[in-house]
Every structure is written in C-alpha cells, then in structure tokens.
C-alpha cells in the first residue's frame, strides 16, 4: 500500500498508470490546487536543472595525477598488498552469518543435552537440614548450625560454622 507522499510524487512525475492516476485524482479534495502545485513542482525542477548544471572541473589532469599517486601509495603500503579485491577481510557477511548460526546450533544442542540429564534421584541420600540458627549473638553473631542426617544409617552430624569459641553452656537457639 503506497502512502500519500509516494502517490503524490508519482502523480507529479507522471509515473502513475492510467487507472492509478484516475483513482488518485478522485481522492484529491481540491483538484485545481493540486494541479497548481504540480505545476510549481515542475517549475522548481526546471529551475534546478537550469541553474545547477555542474561546474566544470578544473585541473582534470591534476585530479587524475593525484588519484594515481594515492592509488600507488595504497599499493605500496604493506596492508594493501595484492589486488584490490583481495584486500577485504576473511570475515565476509556470509561467513559471519554461517558462524553465528553454527554457534547457535551448538549452543542449542548442548543446552538440550544438559537439560535432558535428570538428577540421579529426587532426593539426596543425605538429608541436609540447615537450621540457619544463630548461636547466642552475644558470643558469636555470625555462627550458624547445620545438621546432616542419613536416615538409613541413623547418623546425624552437627556442623557449627563461624564459632569463635564453644561455651560450656552452649545451646543453639
């Protein structure tokens, strides 16, 4: 679907087909004003064409000489060895795209296999209960207590961390 600007430009430049032109002209609220503006655009174009003819370039030979000198300097520079077309980087757009897609595929594959691996059992054979209880804060404010318990073996390990000293009357709260 063309915008109004596109249709208008095509209309002014006479690039609409007969059907398109009729349809577009039917949408114009003020046909006379539009025709007047079309004429203005044509006058503007004529003015630009008449007044903006390119200035002749002076010293054409010097222009070529300067360009040849720069090209020769390019050819002599170590980074510009070889034909002009061979100076481009190995990383072409196509190679970049393929590298990106390959990396994405490898990543997806690895993610799939990693996520597919289920844990050996739903529950560890060691039931770990972290009480997060603090020992009396006046003695050791950052000490924590954890309990590791194996039900089958009926073994319980009490792990106290961050305790500076264990008072005789210690009791976890």
């Amino acid at each position: 679907m063309k915008t109004f600007e596109e249709k208008w430009t095509a209309w002014v430049d006479g690039r609409l087909s007969e059907t398109e032109r009729t349809e577009f002209e039917a949408t114009l609220a003020d046909r006379a004003a539009a025709e007047a503006e079309k004429l203005e655009v044509q006058k503007l174009g004529a003015l630009l064409r008449e007044e903006l003819q390119p200035l002749p370039m002076g010293n054409e030979e010097f222009f070529h000489h300067q360009l040849r000198t720069r090209i020769a300097a390019e050819a002599r520079s170590p980074v510009a060895e070889g034909r002009p077309g061979l100076r481009e980087s190995w990383w072409t757009i196509r190679r970049l795209v393929w590298t990106g897609l390959t990396s994405l595929a490898i990543f997806a594959l690895c993610t799939f296999f990693v996520l597919r691996e289920e844990p050996a059992s739903d529950q560890s054979q060691y039931l770990t209960q972290i009480l997060n209880a603090k020992v009396d804060p006046s003695i050791s404010p950052y000490a924590t207590v954890s309990i590791f318990q194996t039900k089958q073996d009926r073994v319980t390990v009490l792990w106290v961390d961050g305790l500076k000293s264990l008072p005789a009357d210690y009791a976890a709260k």
């Binding site: 503007l44 004529a46 003015l47 360009l67 040849r68 090209i71």
Partner: protein, 212 residues
Amino acid sequence: MNRDRSRPKVDAEATAAEADVPEPELVKRAQAGDTGAFDELVSRARARVYGMIYNMVHNEQDAWDLAQESFLKAWKSIGRFRGQASFHTWIYRIVMNVTIDWLRKRQIKGGGAEFDDTIQVKEIDPASRTVPHSAALPHERMEHEEIRRRIEAAIAQLTPEHRAVILMKEIEDMQYHEIAESLGCSIGTVMSRLFYARKKLQHLLRDVYENV
C-alpha cells in the same frame, strides 16, 4: 597490461584506445589490478561525480577531496563489484555514502549549523594547492550567480538524504530505482524523501521560480 598481483602497475596515462573499450571490459581489467583501465573509468564518471558532490556540499575544495576519496574507495572495493547494477550506479552509491557521511560529521561538528541559512556557499581556502579555482564569472552571469546562490542556500537547509534525492532526480534525471540503489533504500523511501524535499524547496524558492 600488468597482471602482477602483488603490486598493481600504476599507469602513467590512460591510452587513447581505452576510450573505446566497453565499460564492463574496463571494470574487469580494473578488478585484475589494471590502474589504466580504472583511470579510464574515472575519466568517464569524473565530471558527473564532481558535479553531484559539488551540488551537495557547495564548496569546490570539499567536492574535489570527496571525489578523490570516493574514487579511491571505488578502487579499493572494485573487486567486490559484481556487475548487478551499472558501474555508474555503483560509483554513485560510494559517492553518496562518502558525501552523506561527510555532511553528517560536519553537521555534528558544527552543532547543526550546516542545515540552516547561515551556510557560506563559497568557502575556498586561498592557500589550498589542491583546489582547481574556477575562473571569475562574467558580468552578465551575475544574476544567474545570485539565483544559484539562493538555490544552494535552500538546498543547504535540506538533510543530506533529501539533498541527494532531489539532485539525483532533478539534475541527474535518474529513475526512482536507480536512486534507491545508489542510496541503499527502498523506492518508497526515495519517493517520500522527494515529496518532502520538494515541499521545502517550494517554500524556500517560490519567489525565485515564479519570477524567473
């Protein structure tokens, strides 16, 4: 013809015989490192390229330098030219990239002053040795010179993209699709830019084209 790949031969002059060589043949030879062939391609495109750039930047020295830069870039990348578009369209794409990029940088440096009516349309450094100074205009062309100055000042108020589109359409008489290829945008974008560029120029130059 020198086919040495490690160091392309820099020909002193394009021979007269090359003037008759078809463009695709010259392109092929230039891609093989023949600077003589490239020189001939430059000769064929030079005037239009320079004129186009001059109408974009309104300064002879800058137009000269940008034309040099464009042709040098064309030489560096001619190996990538596949011949899908004409050489002319391809070189225009490079010219437009170089010129629009330059105008944008200049706009940033100048804090946006580029696109207002304070632009100096003639800024030739008298000390420059690279600028081909044009001869003084005859007295009878003073009026045209004034009109041209008005037009250049109006065009200077357009964005680089709008300048490019209006100049390629009105001065170069290029088709929408050729402009689109040169600017790397869609035909719809070209038509839309043309619409707004014309509107602005109509507003700025109405008294000029109504009285000429």
